[in-house]
């Protein structure tokens, strides 16, 4: 077996996949569910319910607020308590719809049976129908970035899609939600992939999995052989060497089909690839075949000091505190709470933050693990340059940002940074490289936007 990986940079952080074999459990319903209106990239959703309205599980509560946007569906049945602000994953109070939970009554249109629906049995599901159902169900990228899925399936006229790559890499330490999903719902994921391929009008599909998940590779290879045998579609399971950040779109495209995506504004489809997370494939299956909008997701609740870390099928809007309590409560002492994993996750200061479309994990790090070391002067060892998966020079970008030399920073492709944190992880002097670069990237992107607006 020939094992690939991406060609530039990368690191290998400690895996700590504590919950690998923990079978997913259904998390209980919360007392009150909170739905932030901005759970995706793009314009915030617009509420279409009012205080006092009754909703069911799967009722649409907010409409897409623009082209790049997604509707939001209630994950619970009950009454709209109020439309207010609550702390979301940005760390700030943002507009939210808050629903008091009463019972568990689902919308009748949702097919709740376990029967596997195959694409060949549903000739009425045309490519256009697939895209429109995905759009109407509010499906967004489930890997964390939350980009509306239907937009990815309709590439700009300048680009032509050639294949769909399923991102089953899960290179981030601690998180196992995607792995559990693969082990428990492999058939549905493959139907989801077929729908994605049909929607994007391509016949080639890949599933990229890292070799630390041998059982998933085996299972999916077997199922693929069965499912796509004698069909027009050609799907390949591609085992990949362990390397962070392989789950980054551009890295995955390079690892799987050996093509490098040029600097922004180019996107993977410019080299012919549409990358979708396994979670997204599953959500697409449910949206198209079961008429079930996106209101549930697989989430890992993990941390070395948690009593019972586990994987949960969570209704969105559930406060993190509830999941932490299910795992034995917040450990004693100081902890660092992250929405996401330790590399890309977002640190939070409140446990009342709800699980959203992109919350793949709730990670709790101990003070010892999370504390940063005192930064030392840069000795120009260039380890960060070796580690950068985008081929940038992090030490230089960090310095340029610190000195506010935006012009030079732009010339050095600061906007290509994917903020994976490999540079900061690898720096022997513990310098806050990414902190600086992130600041610079935001400023430079602002400058570019205002320049474009002037033209």
């Amino acid at each position: 077996m020939n094992i690939h990986t991406f060609r530039i940079g990368g690191i290998h952080p400690e895996e700590n996949k504590l919950t690998h074999e923990a079978v997913t459990q259904q998390a209980p319903l919360p007392m009150q569910a909170i739905f932030p209106l901005s759970q995706h990239i793009g314009a915030p959703a617009v509420p279409i319910v009012q205080k006092g309205d009754k909703v069911k599980v799967g009722t649409k509560i907010a409409d897409a607020g623009g082209f790049v946007s997604a509707p939001i569906f209630s994950s619970v049945s009950g009454t709209v308590a109020r439309i207010d602000t609550a702390i979301d994953a940005t760390g700030y109070r943002k507009p939210c719809i808050i629903i008091d939970v009463e019972g568990d009554e689902w919308e009748e249109s949702i097919d709740r049976s376990d029967k596997l629906e195959l694409v060949k049995d549903h000739p009425e599901v045309t490519p256009e129908e697939i895209v429109s159902r995905i759009k109407d169900a509010g499906v967004v990228g489930m890997g964390g970035a939350c980009f509306p899925t239907f937009i990815k399936l309709t590439p700009p006229p300048t680009a032509k899609a050639e294949c769909v790559i399923i991102n089953a890499v899960e290179c981030e330490p601690y998180i196992t939600a995607d792995y559990r999903l693969m082990m428990e719902h492999a058939d549905e994921i493959l139907v989801g992939l077929e729908l994605l391929m049909k929607g994007a009008k391509v016949t080639k599909g890949y599933i990229g999995i890292e070799t630390n998940k041998p059982r998933a590779i085996e299972l999916l290879t077997q199922k693929c052989a069965k499912a796509f045998n004698a069909s027009e579609y050609n799907v390949e399971v591609v085992p990949l060497a362990q390397r962070y950040p392989q789950g980054g779109e551009k890295q995955l495209v390079d690892a799987v089909i050996r093509r490098q995506v040029p600097a922004p504004p180019a996107i993977p489809v410019n080299v012919g690839a549409i990358v979708q997370n396994v979670g997204t494939a599953f959500a697409v299956y449910q949206a198209v075949m079961k008429h079930k909008p996106l209101f549930e997701r697989y989430t890992t609740v993990t941390g070395k000091r948690l009593q019972n870390p586990g994987n949960y099928l969570v209704r969105m809007g559930t406060p993190m505190q509830m999941l932490i309590d299910l795992c034995g409560g917040m450990p004693e002492g100081d902890n660092k709470l992250l929405a996401g994993g330790p590399m890309m996750g977002k640190a939070l200061t409140s446990t009342e933050v709800p699980i959203c479309k992109g919350t793949n994990s709730v990670t709790i790090l101990s003070d010892d693990d999370a504390r940063r070391k005192e930064p030392q002067p840069c000795i120009r060892c260039a380890k960060c340059v070796d580690a950068c998966p985008m081929g940038l020079e992090p030490y230089l970008l960090a310095k340029l940002s610190a000195f506010k030399n935006w012009e030079k920073a732009e010339q050095e492709y600061i906007v290509s940074c994917i903020e994976c944190g490999s540079c900061q992880f690898t720096c022997p002097a513990h310098r806050p490289l990414l902190d600086n670069i992130r600041q610079g990237k935001q400023t430079v992107m602002g400058i570019i936007r205002s320049r474009a607006a002037k033209k």
Binding site: G91, Y92, R93, T349, R372, R438, Q439
Partner: protein, 290 residues
């Protein structure tokens, strides 16, 4: 003797030719610059702070002279030199003074460590902008001063500092030139340029928290809760309430300080007033029990 003569003639000749070339060039290719620009430039402080909106004092001098030719100095003000410099410039250009009232930077956050408890620890780069991008910061208030000193770094006049006891930015009124660099550096727009006021007396709402009262109170005891008491109390309609936050218009405020006494959270501050008269004992008792 002959050698010396030849040398003198040759060098003298070269010098003459060079002088001629230089003379012709300086006449032929001369760029006319208004002599007043240099004169005005001399009057300006020369700090090149950019507070006037131009890249430096040279640009400002240019604009002032152009303005004088156009007949108005409106909109042109050197915040560093203040009215003194502006009146001298106006004299030179034979114009009326167009300088505004002196202003000063005001930090609208009073959430000291005691009244605004820390709920988390930030370990990243020491920069307000970086901390602001990470979330609410170390306290539960998502609007207040972060105390990392981006404003201190931006100030060219050493006029703003972080007080280590309160963790807040404090302005040195003597040194502040109201150039506005700090207002741009603050990622939360806490610092405002306000009218300095007679003898530096000012009344302002020292809070920018737009959360609902109950939420902001929980985060910080001296936050504006948007109760509107000050709005009712003000006789001069100087106070407006929007997004759970009061704002005192410095143009309308008559410095009566009635709003200061009615504010339940002490979010309204009056500075540089003489020591307050002893408050009626009744009131004080109420406050202590509240």
């Amino acid at each position: 003797m002959n050698f010396i003569l030849i040398a003198v003639i040759v060098l003298g000749g070269i010098a003459l030719i060079a002088a001629l070339v230089l003379f012709v060039c300086s006449k032929r290719f001369a760029v006319y610059e208004d002599p007043r620009i240099a004169q005005v430039n001399e009057l300006l402080p020369g700090a090149n702070c950019g507070g006037c909106g131009f890249a430096g004092c040279g640009g400002m001098a240019d604009a002032l002279v152009k303005g004088a030719d156009a007949g108005s100095l409106e909109g042109l003000n050197c915040p560093v030199g203040g009215s003194e410099v502006m009146s001298r410039v106006a004299d030179l250009l034979g114009m009326a003074i167009a300088s505004g009232e002196p202003k000063v930077a005001v930090v609208r956050c009073n959430g000291t460590c005691e009244v605004r408890p820390k709920i988390a620890e930030y370990a990243g780069m020491r920069s307000c902008a970086a901390m602001h991008a990470c979330g609410a910061g170390e306290t539960a208030c998502g609007f207040g001063c972060l105390g990392c000193g981006d404003c201190v770094e931006a100030c060219q006049f050493d006029a703003i500092h972080i007080n280590p006891e309160t963790g807040l930015a404090e302005v040195d009124e003597e040194k502040c030139t109201a150039c506005g660099a700090c207002t741009k550096a603050c990622p939360r727009a806490i610092i405002e340029l306000r009218k300095k006021g007679p003898k530096g007396r000012r009344v302002f709402v020292s809070c920018v928290n737009k959360d609902k009262g109950a939420v902001s109170m929980k985060a910080c005891k001296v936050s504006c809760i948007g109760c509107g008491k000050c709005v009712k109390e003000c006789q001069f309609e100087a106070i407006t309430l929007g997004q759970n936050l009061s704002y005192i218009d410095p143009e309308k405020c008559r410095l009566c300080r009635k709003c200061v006494s009615v504010c339940p959270t002490h979010a309204i501050q009056a500075v540089n007033f003489p020591a307050p008269k002893p408050v009626e004992p009744k009131e004080e008792g109420k406050e202590a029990t509240a």
